[in-house]
C-alpha cells in the first residue's frame, strides 16, 4: 500500500476507535444508571482508545519512513561483488542502479547493475508490504487491546492528559531541536571544509575566489578561500545601513513618543510599520533598479566614479528597511521611562528637548542599544537586498561607491544551482553560514540580555 493511502486508512481507524470507545462508555454508563458512575466522560474513553490506536502506529510509520531507504541501500550495496573504492564511485553506482530500477537509465547497463536493480525493486516492494502489515497490526492490535481492557473504573482522563502534556512538551522542544539542527548542519559541513582549507586561511586570507580547478593546468583556478573581503563588505553595507537607520529611526521614535499628537501618531506609526512589512526582495528590486542608478548619477554629478552595483545603494535601501525596526523598539523603551522623571526635569526648568536629551534618552539608553544591536544582526543577515544590489565581486575596498560582496551573497551564489556535495566550494557556503550564525547569535544574546536587564529596572 502506498504511504498516503496507509496514512488515510490509519486516520479512518483512529476515527472508528474514537467512536467505539465513546459508545462503549455510553453503553456502560446506561447499564449502571448514569454518567456519574463512570470514572471519566465518554469523550475521554474515546480519545484514550484513539490515542492507543493511532499514536504508536504513527510513530512506527515515521521511523520506518526515515530509515527504510538507507537500509535498503545498504542491503543492495552489500549484495554487489566488486564495488568501487571511492565514496563518489559508490554513489554513482547506486544512482545508476536507482535509475535502472525506475526504468530511466540511458544506455545498456552492466549485468551487475541489472541484478542489483531487480534486487532493489524486490526489496522495496517487500518493505512496503511489511510496512503496511506492521502498521495495521500495531494499530488494530493496540486499539482492540484498549477496548478489551475497558472498564468504567479506568481513570482514562489522567492517562489522556498525560499524553496531551507530553505532546505539548514535544512541540515546545521544537525550538531546541531547530537550534541543534542548525548547529549540526552548519558545523559538520564546516568541519569538512576546514579539512581542506585551514581555519586561519579562511579567517585571515585576503583573497576570495571560490573556483576549484577542473584541470590541473587551468588558468586562475587556484581557488582562494580568504573571507576577509566578505567580512569587510558585510561590515560596510551594514554600517551604511545603520548610518541611515539609527538617527532616522531614533528621532522618529522620539518624536512619536514625546511630541506627536494622538492623531499624528495614529497615522505615522502604521505608515512606518509598512516599511517593515515589505518583502526584502521588493527592496532589492528597488535598490537595483531605482536607487543604484540615482547613486551613480549623483556620484557622476560631483565627479566621482560609481559602479553600477554599489555598496552605497544596497546600504541606503537596507537602512530604510531597518528604520521601523529601530523606531518601534525605541518607541517601546522610551514609553517605558517613568513619567515622573520627565516631570522632574521639566519642573527644574529644562525645555522639552533638554528633558529628552538629558533625562529620557540616558534612562532609555540600554534598551535603545539593545534594539540597535538587534538591528545590526538583522543587517548582517539580510540577503536579498545585497544579492540584487551589492554585486558579486569580492573587492577589498573602503570606497562605498565600489561594488562589494557580503557573506550572505556568497552563500547564495555558492549554493544556488547544481552542486556536488563534497567540493570545497559548496562546503565553503556552510562555513560562511557558521560564521553568520555565530555572529548573529552573540549579537542577539547580548541584545536580549541588555533589553531584559533594562526592563527589570523599571518594572
Amino acid at each position: 500500500m502506498q504511504t498516503p493511502t496507509l496514512f488515510a486508512l490509519l486516520l479512518l481507524l483512529v476515527l472508528i476507535a474514537y467512536g467505539t470507545g465513546f459508545s462503549r462508555a455510553v453503553a456502560a454508563a446506561r447499564g449502571r444508571g448514569g454518567m456519574r458512575k463512570l470514572a471519566a466522560l465518554p469523550s475521554y474513553y474515546g480519545t484514550h482508545t484513539a490515542l492507543w490506536c493511532g499514536l504508536p502506529a504513527l510513530l512506527l510509520l515515521a521511523v520506518w519512513l526515515t530509515f527504510d531507504e538507507p537500509i535498503i541501500r545498504a542491503l543492495v550495496m552489500n549484495g554487489i561483488a566488486d564495488k568501487p573504492d571511492s565514496v563518489s564511485g559508490r554513489e554513482l553506482l547506486y544512482a545508476q542502479i536507482q535509475n535502472q530500477a525506475a526504468g530511466s537509465l540511458f544506455g545498456e547497463p552492466s549485468a551487475q547493475v541489472k541484478a542489483a536493480a531487480e534486487r532493489l525493486l524486490h526489496l522495496r516492494s517487500g518493505a512496503r508490504w511489511l510496512q503496511t502489515a506492521l502498521v495495521l497490526i500495531l494499530s488494530l492490535g493496540l486499539g482492540a487491546f484498549t477496548l478489551l481492557r475497558f472498564s468504567p473504573q479506568l481513570r482514562v482522563r489522567e492517562k489522556v492528559e498525560k499524553v496531551f502534556r507530553v505532546i505539548l512538551i514535544g512541540c515546545a522542544s521544537a525550538a531546541i531541536l531547530t537550534t541543534v539542527g542548525i548547529l549540526l548542519s552548519v558545523l559538520f559541513e564546516s568541519l569538512r571544509f576546514f579539512h581542506t582549507v585551514p581555519v586561519t586561511e579562511f579567517l585571515f586570507g585576503l583573497q576570495w575566489s571560490p573556483q576549484m580547478a577542473l584541470r590541473a593546468d587551468q588558468v586562475g583556478s587556484s581557488g582562494a578561500f580568504g573571507a576577509v573581503p566578505l567580512f569587510t563588505g558585510t561590515l560596510m553595507v551594514s554600517a551604511i545601513a545603520m548610518f541611515v537607520a539609527v538617527p532616522v529611526g531614533l528621532m522618529a521614535a522620539i518624536y512619536l513618543a514625546e511630541y506627536a499628537s494622538r492623531r499624528v501618531r495614529a497615522v505615522a506609526k502604521p505608515v512606518l510599520e509598512v516599511l517593515a512589512g515589505v518583502p526584502t526582495v521588493v527592496y532589492g528590486f528597488f535598490a537595483a533598479l531605482t536607487v543604484a542608478p540615482l547613486v551613480r548619477e549623483a556620484a557622476a554629478a560631483v565627479g566621482l566614479q560609481a559602479s553600477s552595483e554599489s555598496a552605497l545603494a544596497a546600504g541606503l535601501v537596507m537602512g530604510v528597511m531597518i528604520i521601523p525596526f529601530i523606531s518601534s523598539l525605541s518607541d517601546d523603551v522610551i514609553n517605558a521611562v517613568p513619567q515622573s522623571m520627565r516631570d522632574g526635569a521639566l519642573g527644574l526648568g529644562s525645555t522639552h528637548s533638554e528633558t529628552v536629551r538629558k533625562v529620557v534618552i540616558p534612562a532609555a539608553l540600554p534598551g535603545i542599544v539593545g534594539g540597535v544591536l538587534l538591528a545590526v544582526s538583522r543587517a548582517i543577515g539580510e540577503t536579498m537586498i545585497v544579492v540584487m544590489a551589492a554585486g558579486l565581486a569580492a573587492n577589498l575596498t573602503a570606497n562605498p561607491l565600489e561594488s562589494v560582496t557580503t557573506v550572505t551573497v556568497q552563500i547564495v551564489t555558492l549554493l544556488v544551482g547544481d552542486q556536488e556535495f563534497d567540493s570545497p566550494k559548496t562546503l565553503a557556503a556552510f562555513a560562511l553560514g557558521l560564521m553568520l550564525f555565530l555572529t548573529t547569535l552573540v549579537l542577539n544574546f547580548i541584545a536580549l540580555h541588555v533589553v531584559k536587564k533594562y526592563r527589570e529596572q523599571y518594572e
Binding site: A172, I176, T280, V282, F285, L415, L436
Partner: protein
C-alpha cells in the same frame, strides 16, 4: 557666581534662552524630518513600483489575416495527431508577408516574423482545435505582439518618438503602419495571470508561482500553527520554572532573530541531503518556513494566552476542571483571536520570504503549475527575483506587476489581522 548681581544672572539666562529655544525647535524639526523621511520612502517605493508595473496589465495584440491553408500546414484533416505536427508557423509567416508584401531579403524577413510573439502558433492551434471546420478558410486573428513591439507601442503613448530599444527603424515603421490601420489593439493581459513562467515576457505569467506560494503556505500553516500554539500553551500554562524551560525560552527568542538564510542552510543539509526529500518542492519550502515562523507564532500566542485573566482559570479550577479542561475549554477559545492574528502575521512573513527558498532549490525555471506539494515549484518572491535578473525590458514591468500582486496579498493579510484583532479583542 556670587559676585554676579541678580540682574546679570537674569540677563544671562535671557540671552541663553533664545538659543535654547532655537535648539528646541531644531530638535523638533529633526523629529518631523525623520518621520517625513520614512513616509517619503514609503510613497517613493510604492509610486515607483506602481509606475513601473502598471503597464504589465496591458498587452498589445496584432491582427493578422490568416489562411488555414492545408498545403502550408502540411495536414489534410484536423485531429489530435495532425494538430501536433501542423506547421502553424508557416501560416503566420505567410500572413505577415501578405500584410507587408514589399519585404524581401533574409534579415528583413526575420525582423518581420519577430513582430508577433513566438507563442502565436499555439494561439492558432487552439483556434483550429476548437473549430476544425476552419481548415482551408481565412479569418482575422489577434495575436500577442512580441515583447519588444509591446514595449515600443506602450511608449508611444508617452511620446511621439517612443522607446525603440531593440526594435529597428524598419520594424517601428511597420508597427506605425499597423497602428494607423487599427490592426493593433491593447487588451487586459490575462496571460499574466493564467500562464506559468516563460523566457518570452509576453507569455510569462505568475500562475505557477502563485499556486506554488499557496501550497507552500498551506504546508507552513498546517505545521506551524498547531505546533506553535501547543508550544505556547506548554510554556504559558504548564511549564515549571526550571532549566529546560529557560533553555526553550532563550532558544525561541534567539531563533526569532536568526537570519532567514541560515534556515535555508538547515533545510538544505537536513531535509534535502539527509532525509532526501525532493528538491524545489513546496513540502520542503513549507518545512523550512515553518521553522522560521514558529518563533513568531509562539511569541504572539503566548501574548494572547497571557492576556486571558487568571480569574477565568481560577473559576474553572474551582468548578473542578482539570488543567487540560481549563486550557481547552476556557483559556484557548478566549485566546484564539490573538493567536489567529499572530498566525496571519507569521504567514505574511512567510509569503514574502525569499532567501531560504533559494537554498532549497525553489529557483528552478518552472513552467508548469504544480499540482501537489512534492512537485517542483517556485513561489512569488522567488519569481520576482528571477525576473528582476532578466535583461529584457518587458520583464521590468512584469517584475513590478508581480510585486504589486505580492504586496496586495500582504496588505490584505495584514489588514485582516488588524481588523480581526480590533473586532474580536476583549478588554478585560
Amino acid at each position: 557666581m556670587s559676585d554676579l548681581t541678580q540682574a546679570q544672572v537674569r540677563e544671562r539666562i535671557a540671552r541663553r534662552l533664545a538659543s535654547r529655544h532655537r535648539k528646541e525647535k531644531l530638535f523638533r524639526g529633526l523629529g518631523i524630518a525623520s518621520i517625513a523621511f520614512g513616509v517619503m520612502a514609503v510613497l517613493l517605493l510604492f509610486s515607483d513600483i506602481i509606475s513601473k508595473g502598471s503597464g504589465a496589465f496591458v498587452q498589445t495584440d496584432v491582427q493578422l489575416q490568416v489562411t488555414y491553408d492545408p498545403a502550408l500546414l502540411g495536414i489534410d484533416e484536423v485531429n489530435a495527431e495532425t494538430l501536433i505536427w501542423a506547421n502553424f508557423t508557416a501560416v503566420i509567416r505567410e500572413a505577415l508577408r501578405a500584410r507587408f508584401p514589399e519585404v524581401s531579403g533574409r534579415s528583413e524577413k526575420r525582423e518581420l516574423y519577430s513582430l508577433v510573439s513566438s507563442g502565436a502558433p499555439f494561439t492558432l492551434r487552439e483556434r483550429l482545435q476548437a473549430n476544425p471546420q476552419l481548415l482551408g478558410k481565412t479569418e482575422k486573428v489577434w495575436f500577442a505582439a512580441d515583447d519588444d513591439v509591446d514595449t515600443f507601442v506602450k511608449s508611444l503613448d508617452d511620446s511621439a518618438e517612443g522607446f525603440r530599444g531593440r526594435t529597428s527603424e524598419q520594424m517601428a515603421a511597420w508597427v506605425q503602419s499597423l497602428r494607423a490601420s487599427g490592426e493593433l489593439k491593447k487588451r487586459f493581459n490575462t496571460t499574466f495571470f493564467t500562464n506559468g513562467d516563460s523566457r518570452e515576457p509576453e507569455q510569462a505569467g505568475i500562475r505557477a508561482a502563485l499556486v506554488g506560494s499557496l501550497l507552500t503556505l498551506m504546508v507552513t500553516l498546517a505545521l506551524s500553527f498547531p505546533i506553535g500554539v501547543a508550544a505556547a500553551i506548554y510554556l504559558e500554562e504548564y511549564a515549571p520554572k526550571n532549566r529546560w524551560t529557560d533553555l526553550i525560552e532563550v532558544n525561541i527568542n534567539n531563533l526569532a532573530a536568526v537570519p532567514s538564510i541560515v534556515f535555508g542552510l538547515l533545510g538544505l543539509a537536513i531535509f534535502i541531503n539527509f532525509f532526501e526529500l525532493p528538491r524545489s518542492a513546496p513540502l520542503v519550502g513549507g518545512l523550512v518556513l515553518t521553522l522560521m515562523t514558529l518563533p513568531t507564532i509562539i511569541i504572539s500566542s503566548r501574548a494572547a494566552l497571557k492576556s486571558v485573566p487568571p480569574s477565568i482559570r481560577e473559576a474553572a479550577m474551582g468548578m473542578g476542571a482539570s488543567r487540560m479542561q481549563v486550557v481547552l475549554h476556557h483559556v484557548l477559545p478566549l485566546a484564539m483571536p490573538g493567536m489567529l492574528t499572530g498566525a496571519i502575521i507569521g504567514m505574511a512573513q512567510a509569503l514574502g520570504e525569499t532567501a531560504p527558498l533559494l537554498m532549497i532549490g525553489m529557483v528552478a525555471f518552472i513552467v508548469d503549475v504544480p499540482s501537489g506539494i512534492t512537485d517542483p515549484a517556485t513561489v512569488l518572491p522567488v519569481q520576482i527575483f528571477l525576473w528582476a535578473d532578466s535583461p529584457e525590458r518587458a520583464f521590468v514591468e512584469r517584475t513590478s506587476a508581480a510585486i504589486m500582486v505580492l504586496l496586495s496579498f500582504l496588505i490584505v493579510m495584514n489588514t485582516s489581522a488588524v481588523l480581526l484583532r480590533k473586532k474580536l479583542e476583549r478588554r478585560w
